[in-house]
């Protein structure tokens, strides 16, 4: 630890109705609302922010190419630390790590991590992927739907190597839906069975529609500062115990091993080593579930079960409400919301659970230590944060 201990002191997200922001807004408006709400929770205001962290696909090409610069102008602030690190949906876990480093060493006093997307309202989502230039000249011409096709290639190989079944993946979607049914803010709350998941239209085999995350709007913000600044905050500060990040590829053919998530193995190991905790110490896990296979491979890679044993691990209700391993307790990207980059919502849910402020039906009791893991790109990057409360 450096001179100052970094803590999370505020989180906020933007309410959705049927997957769209309840109050219509541009990605800039959404981010401004979330920033204001998260800072208010911390007893701070925008004028206190000297470190701005964001990642997103809004305004690209255009003003979004320099997202922190555009956002600072829009918010009327002049941060002296800009971090637009974009390693995909896991970027926000990386932002927490970078903000922690900056706060520790006195280079940042108040860090605002913020995200906003109106992809559902704007109908800007498509599967067509990236221009066929540079490294993508070898993948885009093949018409692999992006990013689901890459995850499908991994799922197919995982099934081949380890005998993982479509039913095992379906259990993950069903558990997420059960959590979502307890969360009034979740987008999809109606009951769903394993058979429903298996009968859903195939998108890219072996993955079907209900193996895939939702397409929604969304916005969120996380505020960090040094612990000595947090005394005015009304809610329990959340400590950053450990973090790690890694990336192995972006073109899916360059993934080192399609049936194991190397980036998560690397990131998780670093986070556990830094935090000095073991798997048994983790009370709550929030994992990026872009697709059912993502959850399964991440659980294996982080060491919660052995490689190849994820299918058995997620069965029998273990990860569903009431199970021994509370996972993705807001309903996840599969059933809560997925606005393009989901990583910030993992952090928000973990913080709310640790503060004991979610609905009683889905509140996990006595969460002292939580692990959050984001995955970005096509199983490309991983970033882990281990958080705790006193």
């Amino acid at each position: 630890m450096g001179m100052h201990e970094p803590v999370i002191v505020g989180v906020a997200d933007e309410p959705l109705v049927n997957g769209k922001v309840a109050r219509p807004g541009s990605p800039l408006q959404i981010q401004a609302r979330c920033a204001k709400a998260a800072l208010r929770q911390a007893g701070l205001d925008l004028g206190d922010v000297d470190g701005l962290f964001t990642a997103g696909m809004w305004g690209v090409p255009g003003v979004g190419q320099l997202p922190t610069v555009t956002l600072a102008e829009y918010l009327g602030i002049r941060p002296t630390l800009h971090d637009g690190t974009n390693i995909g949906g896991s970027a926000f876990e990386a932002h927490v790590a970078h903000a922690a480093l900056a706060i520790e060493t006195g280079k940042c006093n108040v860090a605002l991590i913020v995200y906003g997307s109106a992809q559902r309202s704007e109908m800007s989502r498509n599967l067509a992927g990236r221009p066929a230039s540079l490294t993508m000249q070898f993948e885009t011409p093949w018409g692999l739907p992006t990013p689901v096709g890459g995850y499908a290639l991994a799922a197919m190989r995982h099934m081949h190597d380890y005998g993982t079944r479509p039913e095992d993946l379906a259990e993950i979607a069903v558990a997420a839906r059960k959590w979502a049914s307890l969360n009034p803010a979740a987008t999809r709350r109606e009951p769903m069975t394993v058979d429903d998941v298996l009968a859903a239209p195939r998108i890219s085999t072996p993955l079907g529609l209900l193996d895939c995350c939702l397409v929604t709007d969304g916005g969120g913000a996380v505020v960090m500062t040094r612990a000595s600044n947090a005394r005015g905050a009304s809610l329990k500060p959340v400590h950053i115990r450990g973090y790690g990040q890694a990336a192995t590829h972006w073109t899916i053919a360059a993934m080192p091993d399609l049936s194991s998530l190397t980036a998560a193995e690397m990131a998780g190991r670093r986070a556990f080593d830094m935090a000095g905790v073991s798997h048994d110490d983790i009370d709550l896990v929030e994992i990026y579930d872009s697709f059912t296979i993502t959850t399964l491979m991440t659980l294996e890679a982080l060491g919660f079960c052995k490689r190849g044993e994820g299918g058995g691990f997620v069965g029998k209700g273990r990860i569903a409400p009431g199970g021994a391993f509370p996972l993705n307790t807001n309903g996840g990207g599969l059933s809560y919301a997925h606005p393009g980059m989901y990583g910030i919502f993992l952090l928000i849910e973990a913080v709310r659970q640790m503060r004991g402020e979610v609905e009683p039906e889905r509140q996990v009791h006595n969460v002292r230590t939580a692990l959050v893991h984001g995955t970005g790109g096509t199983l490309s990057s991983g970033a882990t944060c281990i958080l705790s409360v006193d």
Partner: protein, 130 residues
Amino acid sequence: MKPSPIADPGTEPYWEALKQRRILLKRCRSCEKPHFYPRELCPHCYSDDLDWVEASGKGTVYSYTVVHRPAGPAYADDVPYTVAVIELAEGPRMMSWITGDDEVRIGAHVKATFVTVGDIVLPMFEPVSG
């Protein structure tokens, strides 16, 4: 219109060779390992001493997926189509399509076939017995 690969000085020889039905790989003269896609430095030992070698066109299916929801309207007439990662006999992996009506399986032996699409040639793969 399907998106056509946008070649650059580092990849032009690869796309040109395909027009003669040849698959070229970059190979490192230092560690002797080939790699794909072609790079300026060897991704294994970081040497800049590389040359081009011709691949045999033989390989195996490392993984595949049958696409039912196409990547945009340009592929709508093709569904379902099989996108695969092929492990070439020389070691590197590349994305491609598997053609033909045979059932695909991981580990199956395949060989290259060359398909003209617009003004480029793409290397696709078809199953071979044994």
